[in-house]
C-alpha cells in the first residue's frame, strides 16, 4: 500500500470510504511484486494496480463488494482452463490479492 498511501489518505480526508487490494503472494512468474496495491473509493476513483491490467476488472468488482460489506476477501488469480479466456494472468503465474476496507 506504500506507493498509494498518500492518495488513499487524500480520499479518506475528503470523507470517502476506501478499499485497498494488495498483492500478498506470487507464485512462479508475476507481473507485480508483493506489496503492490490498487485502491478503489466509494465514488469509483481508482489508483495503483495489482497486475499489468489482466485482473484489475475482477479486483474492482470485488473491491466494490468489500466496500458494501466491510468484510475482507482473499482472492487467487492464475491460469486455469476455465479462466484462461476470461480473467487470468497470461504470464502463467499466480497471485493472491487481499482486499480490505481501510479504517
Amino acid at each position: 500500500m506504500k506507493e498509494i498511501v498518500d492518495e488513499v489518505e487524500r480520499w479518506r480526508e475528503a470523507g470517502e470510504k476506501v478499499v485497498v487490494a494488495t498483492v500478498v503472494a506470487t507464485r512462479r512468474s508475476a507481473p507485480r511484486p508483493v506489496g503492490t496495491s490498487l485502491a478503489v473509493s466509494e465514488s469509483g476513483k481508482m489508483c495503483g494496480s495489482v497486475s499489468g491490467g489482466c485482473v484489475e476488472s475482477d479486483v474492482y468488482e470485488n473491491a466494490k463488494e468489500v466496500l458494501a460489506t466491510g468484510v475482507p476477501k482473499l482472492l487467487t488469480y492464475g491460469i486455469t482452463d476455465d479462466l484462461a479466456w476470461s480473467v487470468g494472468l497470461p504470464c502463467g503465474g499466480e497471485i493472491d490479492v487481499f482486499v480490505e476496507a481501510v479504517e
Binding site: M1, V5, V18, V34
Partner: protein, 249 residues
C-alpha cells in the same frame, strides 16, 4: 490519527517500520504498525509474526509470513536505498541520473569543492565537499547504502575504500584498471585492511557490458549494484535458471 494518516506521515518522514496485516486465519483484517522507535499502532496480530520485526525491517522487503493459525502480510516502510559516490567526475553525474531513475537517493562527495558543483552534477540529491572519512561520517552508510569510489586518485580512493569497508554498505565498488586494482590491493593490505574485507570491493566495478562512455559505465555499475542487492550474478535471463524477479516469498 488514523492508521492511513500515520502511514502517510511515515512515508514522508522515511522512518523505518513494518505494517502487519492478518490476511487469513484468526483475526483476519487485523493490522499492527511497528516503528523502529518502538511506537506501535493497532493490534490483533499474532506475536509470532510481530516478533520478526527486526529481521523484516533490516531485510527491507515485503514478505508473507506463515504463523500458527494465520497468514500475515508484512509490508516494509523506509527510505529508498542510497548510492554514495566519492569523486565528482563525469561518471558521477551519469550515475546520479541512473540512481534517480531507480527512485533511489544519490549523494556525491569530493574534497575538491571546485569540481563539486550543482552545474557539474545537477542530478545529485546532495553534494558534500569533504574528505572521504568526514563525508562517510556525515552520511553514515547502512545496509541499504551502496558506495562507489571514482576519483582514480590514491589519496582519495584509499581512505574512501578503507572507510567504506568499515561500514555495512551492501556494495563497495571502485573504478580503475585491473593493474591499478592489484596495486591498490597491496596498499590497502599494508594499511591494515583485512584480506577478507578486500573481497567486498567490486573492482573494477560494473557488469561486463562492454561499456565505453560515461553513461554506459554508469549503467554497468548500477546493474552490478542491483544484482548484488538481489544476490544475483547478473547474466542473461534466457540462460538463468532461477525466478526472474527477486525472491520475495
Amino acid at each position: 490519527m488514523s492508521l492511513v494518516a500515520r502511514l502517510a506521515a511515515l512515508r514522508a518522514s522515511q522512518d523505518r517500520g513494518v505494517l502487519f496485516t492478518v490476511i487469513e486465519g484468526d483475526g483476519v483484517g487485523a493490522k499492527l504498525l511497528v516503528l523502529e522507535s518502538g511506537e506501535q499502532v493497532g493490534g490483533g496480530v499474532p506475536a509470532e509474526a510481530a516478533d520478526q520485526f527486526h529481521e523484516l525491517v533490516r531485510r527491507g522487503r515485503n514478505r508473507l509470513l506463515a504463523v500458527e493459525g494465520a497468514r500475515v502480510f508484512a509490508e516494509w516502510y523506509g527510505p529508498p536505498p542510497r548510492v554514495f559516490v566519492y569523486g565528482a567526475v563525469d561518471t558521477a553525474e551519469a550515475l546520479c541520473r541512473g540512481v534517480k531513475l531507480l527512485g533511489w537517493t544519490a549523494i556525491v562527495a569530493d574534497a575538491r569543492a571546485a569540481f563539486l558543483t550543482p552545474e557539474r552534477i545537477p542530478s545529485a540529491d546532495r553534494l558534500i565537499a569533504k574528505w572521504p572519512q568526514e563525508a562517510l561520517d556525515e552520511i553514515e552508510p547502512d545496509h541499504q547504502t551502496a558506495i562507489v569510489v571514482l576519483t582514480h586518485d590514491d589519496k582519495f580512493d584509499e581512505p574512501a575504500l578503507i572507510g567504506a569497508l568499515a561500514t555495512e554498505a551492501f556494495y563497495v565498488g571502485a573504478l580503475g584498471s585491473r593493474r591499478n586494482q592489484e596495486r591498490r590491493r597491496g596498499r590497502l593490505l599494508e594499511a591494515g585492511v583485512a584480506e577478507e574485507q578486500l573481497g567486498r570491493i567490486s573492482g573494477p566495478c560494473g557488469l561486463d557490458l562492454g561499456a565505453d562512455t560515461q553513461q554506459e559505465t554508469a549503467l554497468s555499475i548500477l546493474a552490478e549494484i542491483l544484482a548484488v542487492r538481489a544476490g544475483r550474478s547478473g547474466g542473461l535471463l534466457r540462460e538463468a535458471k532461477q525466478r526472474i524477479h527477486a525472491e520475495v516469498e
